[in-house]
């Protein structure tokens, strides 16, 4: 099934970078955006604030570390698939140290020792392999993505080396720690997120612009073309 998804999504992918977002499903995306805003307003935001307000900093940090540690094997797989062996090795060391000395990843002794490689995901691997970002898509609950990065998310989930090892009830801890970390982030960046979702004139367009640009920025390889010279071409090509 995953393979079918990959083929479908990659089949309609576009060149690596185009300045304008490719958004053929804007109408549907805007509908999903409306649902996501409603979910945030009624559930995600209030529950996140309640969580952060009621659970102390130290415990939340440990939960975040636990969730973070469980994502490292996925990073390693992608490091290797991208030929980033140095990062893969560093991340392997980090995972081993934090899982043992750090008590199942609750602590982060590896970071204190300066051990650790780049975070990565299968969307980034596809990018490295020359796959374009495809079309823009806003996913329910997960928010902004592209066809390539959404495919990547799915593959990451399937490829997760820990998945076959984890059985109930342990997988409840892993899932809930990931959700808890997301809630913590929702509050940590509340100012910026609220201003985009609730104060901007067109929050759909702003979320899209911000996602695509930060994603391209983190994937690297942007060239000088991202820096237009408005003195030369003030009104664009509209």
């Amino acid at each position: 099934m995953a393979l079918a998804f990959v083929l479908v999504f990659l089949g309609i992918s576009t060149p690596l970078y185009s300045q304008d977002a490719n958004d053929p499903f804007e109408t549907m995306n805007r509908r999903v955006h409306g649902v996501n805003i409603a979910l945030d307003k009624s559930i995600v935001r209030p529950v996140s604030f309640a969580y952060v307000g009621n659970v102390n900093d130290g415990l939340r940090q440990m939960i975040n570390n636990f969730a973070e540690n469980l994502s490292v094997p996925g990073d390693i797989v992608n490091n290797v698939l991208q030929g980033e062996f140095q990062s893969g090795l560093q991340n392997t060391g980090k995972f081993l140290i934090n899982s043992t000395l750090g008590f199942a990843g609750l602590g982060t002794p590896a970071e204190d020792l300066g051990i650790g490689g780049d975070e990565s995901d299968f969307g980034a691997t596809l990018h490295r392999w020359g796959v374009g970002e495809g079309f823009y898509v806003e996913l329910p609950l997960f928010g902004p993505s592209t066809s390539r990065d959404a495919t990547g998310k799915l593959v990451d989930w399937v490829l997760n080396p820990l998945a076959p090892l984890i059985e109930p009830p342990v997988n409840y801890y892993t899932t809930s720690s990931t959700i808890a970390k997301a809630m913590d982030m929702r509050v940590a960046y509340a100012g910026a997120i609220d201003s985009v979702l609730y104060d901007s004139i067109d929050s759909y367009s702003q979320s899209k612009l911000i996602y695509l640009q930060t994603r391209r920025f983190s994937l690297g390889g942007r060239d000088e073309d991202v820096y237009d010279d408005p003195y030369e071409d003030l009104y664009g090509t509209e």
């Binding site: 901007s200 067109d202 010279d229």
Partner: protein, 212 residues
């Protein structure tokens, strides 16, 4: 600027035939004739401008907690260091071509307050963070000055200021925060507001003023 360079080249080429004093006064004359911005924007001048802007922001934030004072000060800083006219024109997009000078002036005034409030409150969140200006690099006809903002308990992030002297003096005309292009964001916002107001500039200005 080009004209000035050419003049200077010609003077140098003629150097062998001319007495030194004549050459010197020729250069001086060329400098005067080419007008005030008779210098090229340099790497370090661009960096200095952003350093001053960052210092002003830090000093302002350290001096008061009053939100209204901060936002008013931020507006002044924005005016002093940014090419507000260009940013306003860019945000209005193709519509700026149809705007009358009077509409443009009014829009620019309201837009400036809108920008100062929006980015002023964003910058307030960086409080307690350190913005360090790192490097300056020539890109196309301008300079990109890179700074790093260090937040407490979070990864540092990158801020790039684009600086040009094409307005007549060195000013920044765009900011990229972790790759997010401020000009593009604002063109999308103002474009959306214009659409909501039937493409009418006067109604857009009123609506923008109402958001302040």
């Amino acid at each position: 600027m080009k004209m000035f360079m050419m003049t200077r080249m010609r003077i140098f080429m003629a150097q062998n035939k001319l007495p030194r004093r004549a050459v010197l006064s020729g250069i001086v004359a060329a400098l005067l004739w080419s007008g005030l911005p008779a210098y090229a924007l340099t790497k370090s001048a661009a960096k200095t401008l952003i350093n001053q802007a960052v210092d002003d922001i830090n000093a302002m934030v350290a001096s008061t907690d009053d939100e209204e004072i901060i936002l008013a000060e931020f507006e002044k800083i924005f005016e002093r260091y940014a090419d507000v006219n260009l940013i306003a024109r860019y945000a209005l997009g193709a519509e700026a071509r149809r705007a009358t000078p009077k509409q443009m002036k009014k829009f620019t005034r309201v837009f400036k307050i809108y920008m100062a409030r929006k980015y002023g409150s964003r910058f307030r969140e960086f409080m307690g963070s350190d913005i360090i200006v790192k490097d300056s690099k020539k890109v196309k006809s301008f300079y990109k000055v890179t700074a790093e903002a260090k937040l407490q308990n979070a990864n540092p992030f990158e801020v790039e200021f684009l600086v040009s002297d094409k307005s007549g003096k060195p000013l920044f005309f765009n900011i990229f925060i972790e790759g997010i292009n401020m000009l593009l964001s604002e063109r999308a916002e103002i474009g959306a507001l214009l659409d909501k107001n039937g493409g009418k500039i006067d109604r857009l200005i009123t609506a923008l003023e109402a958001t302040l």
